[in-house]
Symmetry: C2
Subunit: 338 residues, 2 copies
């Protein structure tokens, strides 16, 4: 049911990144599609189910990417889509939600207030509430990324022991990856991808990465109970939640091998590396994986790591400020090269 | 024989570009692969044939993308690759050629001198010379882009009249494209893609785009005879040739519907639009298609145009200078919006 434009996204090794990171790095690129993030994999599932069986109206809270994706998926199926967002959300994301034809309601608070308001609208209007990461369709959509990763890995060295690689792959390509880095926000991406990997490629380490400035779900994972925070302070708008969902934490405890926190400076250094060495414009959340390698190079040294580049919706001016700023990553890069 | 990492590249509609262009625009993205250009589609064919039958050593002249691709394809198959380039070529491209393990020889002149030198090396050493656009493998590789475009178009509205679109595509997606914009350099991309389209989707207009500052093949196409120029003056390093190859011109006359020239300011405006509205870093050659729409919006108004984003190998500093420069496209954009 997922439009093919969102499936089989590029997965490729990016050797130009590697001298600065000390490990083999492959990119799973989720930005080359009509909504520039992975979120439509999930909203396609939701919208197609609704178009067949459900109510024709749907509401979600969103930091911007889910809203764009639901607007896109709903428009194609004649659904009436409402998106609730913080008025502090990334302007480019809000603009695209409107452009895709959704009704956009802004709240004077952060993403958690938007979640409350979306739930209230759903109750009041009797329409379908889409709760990112709680609704299984959002995780199932993300899980298709996991399936594609496993399929690619099987292409290198199949589970039946038969080597499916052609001559080029045999000689020139990377070894099968042994770790996947996923941005951790609400948890849909991490639980979706994690579930598939733990099921089909249990040897691959699933590492969730969250900003130090929005650590609620990571702290919850480490303490094995829901930990909330009073505020968030990060440029990674796509993953800046404060109230983890208990059921999502339960799932995450089953499928994640680790959850780590990274500093803002590392996120910016990651964005800059992806621009300078991979030619990729990414939003801060999509640089969390690179940031994690920058902060702990020893952990990844000599390994082959896949990082899911999950979105590229940025305000261009803010993006330029971030990547043009001073030599934030210099110390760290030096450390790594030594 | 082509490594799958280079095939089935993303093809997606980019609505955020459309208000500024006045037509539906889809992007065929050839940058999300290990060499960041379409050139490896061709070098994979060459290298696999050589690995089976031919000499183990190969030389090519390159502005940088062919050289990277041949280095990558050759490395995976144990070939000995030499690349000859101008010492004025884009530094990032030269660096990657070396990083992929090829021997790099620089000439103190432009790309045409590099072509002469590569031919001399091939004669002297008795190794295989790869001539971009003349060697059919380079065109066949590019032609696989055409096959993918036709396949996608058939998905919208099959040649047997059966509509293969799902509900989402029926309602929300674009109509089948009716024009394809391809960068014109040596001619491999244009003749490869053009041949497939004229064969399988003859109604689609194939429009080649070249910079005003490197117009030799476009002028040749219009005059139906080889026209050379004394120099080139363009930032689009990937397409800056002066001596069109007669056999390539013959092919181009058969498959191109038009060949147009665009100004440098339009190329920069195109690069900036792709950054601001599509989140894509592209090299100048890859912005030629958008530049062509900017220069002649009436021609494309209301149509659905595919532009092949053929490479993203830029020197980051030069790229920033280009896209950060003053309001070059302002006048043009205003005209379009009126």
């Amino acid at each position: 049911v997922i439009d093919p434009v969102f499936l089989d996204s590029p997965l490729y090794r990016c050797e130009a990144l590697e001298p600065g990171l000390g490990c083999a790095v492959s990119i799973k690129l989720e930005t080359a599609n009509p909504v520039r993030s992975f979120k439509a994999r999930g909203t396609e599932v939701i919208a197609s189910l609704l178009a067949e069986h459900g109510p024709r109206a749907v509401v979600c809270a969103s930091a911007g990417n889910l809203g764009q994706a639901l607007a896109w998926s709903g428009r194609g199926r004649g659904l009436d889509v409402t998106v609730v967002a913080s008025r502090f959300a990334t302007a480019a994301k809000l603009e695209r939600i409107r452009a895709f034809g959704a009704r956009l309601e802004l709240v004077d608070g952060d993403h958690e207030l938007a979640r409350e308001r979306a739930a209230a609208i759903a109750r009041y209007d009797g329409i379908r509430l889409v709760e990112d990461s709680l609704d299984l369709e959002t995780c199932e959509g993300a899980a298709t990324i996991g399936l594609e990763l496993v399929e690619a890995r099987d292409g290198w060295d199949g589970p039946d022991g038969r080597d499916r690689r052609g001559p080029a792959q045999l000689v020139g390509a990377a070894p099968p990856f042994d770790a996947v880095l996923v941005a951790l926000g609400g948890g849909a991406l991490a639980t979706g991808v994690g579930h598939v990997l733990k099921e089909l490629a249990p040897g691959v380490e699933v590492i969730c990465v969250q900003p130090l400035g929005a650590p609620a779900l990571t702290r919850s994972w480490h303490q094995r109970r829901v930990v909330t925070t009073d505020s968030t302070d990060t440029i990674a708008d796509g993953v800046a939640g404060r109230y983890p969902i208990p059921a999502v934490l339960d799932d995450l405890l089953l499928v994640a091998d680790d959850a780590v926190l990274v500093r803002e400076a590392s996120i910016i250094a990651g964005m800059r590396m992806l621009l300078d060495h991979a030619g990729l414009v990414v939003e801060p959340s999509a640089a969390l994986g690179i940031a994690a390698i920058l902060e702990d190079p020893d952990r990844f040294a000599g390994r082959h790591v896949v990082t899911v580049v999950c979105g590229s919706n940025v305000d261009v001016d803010a993006y330029r400020r971030w990547v043009d700023a001073g030599p934030v990553p210099a110390v760290r890069n030096q450390e790594i090269r030594e």
